[in-house]
């Protein structure tokens, strides 16, 4: 076992084998796989030879076989002339749900967690593999495993289809739906698995994920039953008749998965490297599809306010959450990150949304929510020009959306300013305290004024006063009901409305100024030159 062979390859050394040796099939396959992601190959090798996967595979084969035989034996001879397809397919659908919705996503999570536990991320980090490749490799390997498991069910689905009572679209919709759920849940699992944490937190995360996956499995079971039973659920009715919304929803799902992948990759990247820009680009992609989905919803349902406000509120919640995470980023930029920035100030201003740091994050979130608001207003106006509007006219919608945006800016700006102060005292604080600060600002900004108003001036909440300006729901309601039409709802007068906009406008302007000051300073003054990579070879 004493080392003897020289490590360096010497092409002039003696070759014991002929130079034109015939390649084996194994070598050919190995060469062909060179263009694949190495993580995908590693994970596929590991999973395919793991006991857990082999057991799952054979148990499913056994269950499918027993199901088919039992169905025939119990229902013979009726099965020869009656349509047993829906009941048999529903059973197979349920059987598929557990591996696709629970087993595969949880295996993805464990795969990430084991890398962290065994300290093998370090080994991967010093290779030329990028963090995104690691995450994608793991995800795709698990989907390959899902496809292998799907192959177990394919004969069963064909059997169910041949029993009659279900059409081809219904038959195919079950695996398609479950694969989509599997991909989405695995993306979330991979993100959760990438979070750095202690052993206790790891156990807690595992339990939370498992609980969430089981809940998702129950919902999926219900949807599978509805898909096969010809249910009249609203979403099943809506999607075929509104293909544009279906496409927008599909794109939104894909971009959200991409965002989860980018965030997981960012978690695996050292903090000194720019791990923010990729997440921001994906966020921009999600923003684009959210805007498309919102626009399509408003366009498709112009007369019903139910479909107008909830999307706006959901988008606000999404951007507030993302905005909080963005403003929690560290403000200092390392030499590596600075090298990626535009060398001149004006291009840097234009690219500020993708520059890591809290000020750029604030600007990105504010601009994102603002552009979404403008798109929704434009779509609403466009719908108004092509058809009659029965209620919730575009002016009213625009007023509500604008007020919503102003309050968004005020709240997020306050979160950032509060967070900057806290970070000065606790420089190593992470993202979760930032989320707690955001929750605190929301509660203090909404609940405290409401309680004070009710205690000091009982009945004030019934009318609108500038005192209540920070209370998001009350202000939005006031804006919704009265802003443009000066309706006497809530006892509000035209003067109150003027004061409302005056106070909100002044507060938002102040918050914007305080926040953007650091951005401008950073963009124009912090452009220290960084040496380019040296070319040595």
């Amino acid at each position: 076992m004493t080392p003897a062979a020289p490590l360096r390859h010497d092409s002039t050394a003696d070759h014991p084998l002929p130079l034109r040796k015939r390649m084996s099939l194994r070598e050919k396959i190995s060469d062909w796989s060179d263009w694949l992601n190495p993580i995908l190959i590693k994970e596929t090798r590991q999973v395919a030879t793991s006991r857990a996967f082999v057991w799952t595979f054979f148990v499913l084969v056994l269950l499918c076989w027993i199901s088919a035989v039992t169905t025939v034996l119990l229902n013979d001879p009726a099965i020869r002339y009656q349509a047993y397809g829906p009941s048999v397919m529903t059973w197979y659908g349920w059987l598929m749900t557990i591996p696709f919705v629970v087993v595969v996503p949880f295996a993805t999570y464990r795969s990430m967690e084991i890398e962290r536990h065994n300290a093998t991320f370090d080994l991967l980090s010093i290779t030329t593999i990028e963090a995104t490749q690691i995450v994608r490799g793991k995800l795709v390997a698990m989907l390959v495993m899902a496809l292998v498991l799907l192959s177990v069910f394919t004969p069963c689905l064909a059997f169910g289809y041949m029993l009659g009572g279900v059409d081809l679209a219904q038959t195919l919709s079950v695996p398609a739906f479950l694969m989509a759920v599997c991909l989405t849940a695995s993306s979330v699992a991979v993100l959760l698995g990438s979070l750095p944490r202690s052993a206790t937190a790891s156990t807690l995360h595992s339990m939370l994920l498992l609980t969430g996956l089981l809940a998702l499995a129950i919902v999926s079971l219900a949807i599978v039953s509805q898909l096969l039973g010809g249910s009249s659920a609203w979403y099943l009715r809506m999607l075929p008749s509104r293909p544009s919304i279906a496409v927008a929803a599909f794109l939104l799902g894909v971009t959200l998965c991409e965002l989860a992948i980018a965030a997981a990759a960012a978690n695996l990247t050292p903090p000194e490297v720019n791990r923010s820009s990729l997440v921001r680009k994906r966020l921009l992609l999600v923003h684009g599809t959210v805007t498309l989905a919102m626009g399509m919803t408003v366009y498709e349902f112009p007369h019903d306010r139910i479909y107008l406000l909830p999307p706006l509120w959901m988008a606000t919640a999404f951007w507030f959450m993302m905005g909080t995470l963005l403003v929690a980023e560290r403000p200092d930029l390392t030499a590596r990150v600075r090298r990626e920035l535009a060398p001149k100030a004006y291009p840097r201003v234009l690219q500020s949304w993708r520059v890591p740091g809290s000020a750029g994050g604030f600007l990105f979130a504010v601009a994102g929510m603002g552009s979404l608001t403008i798109v929704l207003m434009l779509v609403r106006w466009h719908v108004h020009t092509i058809g009659p509007i029965r209620r919730f006219p575009p002016e009213e919608f625009a007023a509500v959306a604008a007020t919503n945006w102003l309050l968004f800016v005020g709240y997020l700006g306050t979160v950032r300013l509060s967070w900057l102060r806290i970070r000065r005292r606790f420089p190593h604080a992470g993202f979760f305290p930032a989320l707690a600060v955001a929750a605190g600002v929301l509660i203090l900004g909404n609940l405290v004024p409401a309680l004070l108003a009710e205690i000091l001036w009982p009945g004030l909440l019934e009318s609108y006063s500038p005192l209540l300006v920070t209370i998001w729901p009350v202000t939005l309601r006031a804006a919704h009901l009265t802003v443009l039409n000066y309706r006497p709802a809530l006892g509000t007068t035209a003067g109150d409305i003027a004061r409302l906009y005056g106070v909100i406008g002044a507060l938002v302007a102040l918050v914007l100024f305080l926040n953007l000051r650091s951005l401008v300073t950073g963009l124009f003054a912090g452009a220290a030159p960084v040496a380019p990579v040296r070319q040595r070879d």
Binding site: T2, R8, K42, T127, V533
Partner: protein
């Protein structure tokens, strides 16, 4: 204390490197260089900052201040370039379950971008060099400690790097495996690779390193060629003496006739450090002992060991 070493054609160059974790100064303003084609032994007690320094050099961590260059590239701004040129062996094995040794090396060859025959050749050469050909198809999680370390070294070598950073490669190995590993490291240095190696086993390091750096509480206590460091910080010769008869008389005689601080006595065996200017006493000592009537069984003078040097320079404190 000497905190700076200059070297020509350095494969690794560290300048005023610091790494703080909150208030803890894991690495505190250290500077040293690893010359090309040499082995640099990095020694220090637990918590001295060896692993932190090595992780920074392997681009797994970031310095709080200072600069380090590996193969001519900065760890701060050009980590991607360094990763292509460095092989890193951490103190933990980091195994993948359900994978054979060959698959393990094949994976890392792919991860470093080796393709087709280059990849296959790299795997074969590495298996041969590390002596793991016989266990190539054995699962990695069933290997003995010695074989794991060999495989771990193979993984660090798979892309034929110019610089190797080995963190405690001999930890947990039996004597035979240690000797074999030492031989492999020396072979690699002879092939022109620059190696930074840390170890707790000082006697082993002394046998195959060219340069050493002694680290304690994040500070570099001494660094440079081993002989130079011995001369600058040790330079003492140790006299070992064994006599027949009453050892108490010998002890009294030595204390009366020699100007040395401490004389260690184990039975009839004496050990003491000669004063720096005592060459005359040394040459004369044996004849004076015999003349005094002592029956000398053994008499020898040796250089102070790396262990002596380490104990002299460190105080056993951690950061």
């Amino acid at each position: 204390m000497e905190n700076t070493v200059t070297a020509t054609a350095a494969a690794i160059e560290v300048r005023h490197l610091s790494r703080y974790f909150g208030a803890t100064r894991a690495v505190d303003d250290i500077s040293f260089a690893v010359r090309q084609g040499t082995v640099f032994g990095f020694i220090g007690p637990n918590g001295a900052g060896k692993t932190t320094t090595m992780r920074i050099l392997a681009t797994l961590d970031h310095p709080t201040s200072g600069e380090a260059e590996v193969a001519g590239f900065s760890v701060v701004s050009d980590p991607e370039q360094i990763r292509r040129r460095v092989g890193y062996m951490p103190d933990s094995f980091g195994s993948f379950s359900y994978m054979s040794c060959r698959e393990y090396l094949d994976f890392f060859a792919r991860a470093y971008g080796l393709r087709r025959s280059a990849r296959r050749d790299a795997v074969s050469r590495t298996l041969a060099f590390t002596g793991t050909e016989g266990i190539a198809d054995k699962p990695v999680d069933t290997l003995s400690m010695g074989m794991r370390q060999r495989l771990c070294l193979g993984r660090a070598l798979i892309h034929d790097p110019d610089v190797l950073i080995l963190d405690e490669p001999a930890a947990g190995l039996d004597p035979r495996a240690r000797i074999e590993l030492r031989g492999m490291i020396r072979d690699l240095a002879d092939q022109g690779k620059s190696i930074l190696v840390s170890s707790h086993i000082l006697t082993e390091l002394a046998d195959f390193v060219d340069d050493i750096g002694i680290l304690e509480r994040g500070r570099l206590r001494a660094a440079g060629p081993l002989a130079d460091v011995r001369r600058r910080f040790g330079g003492k010769r140790v006299v070992e003496l064994a006599v027949e008869g009453d050892s108490a008389d010998v002890a009294v005689w030595l204390q009366n006739h020699l100007d040395t601080e401490e004389i260690t006595c184990h039975g009839d065996h004496f050990c003491f450090i000669c004063p720096d200017d005592s060459s005359e006493i040394e040459s004369d000592l044996l004849s004076r002992l015999v003349a005094a009537g002592f029956r000398v069984k053994r008499f020898g003078i040796r250089e102070s060991s790396l262990e002596d040097l380490f104990m002299d320079l460190t105080e056993g404190e951690v950061a």
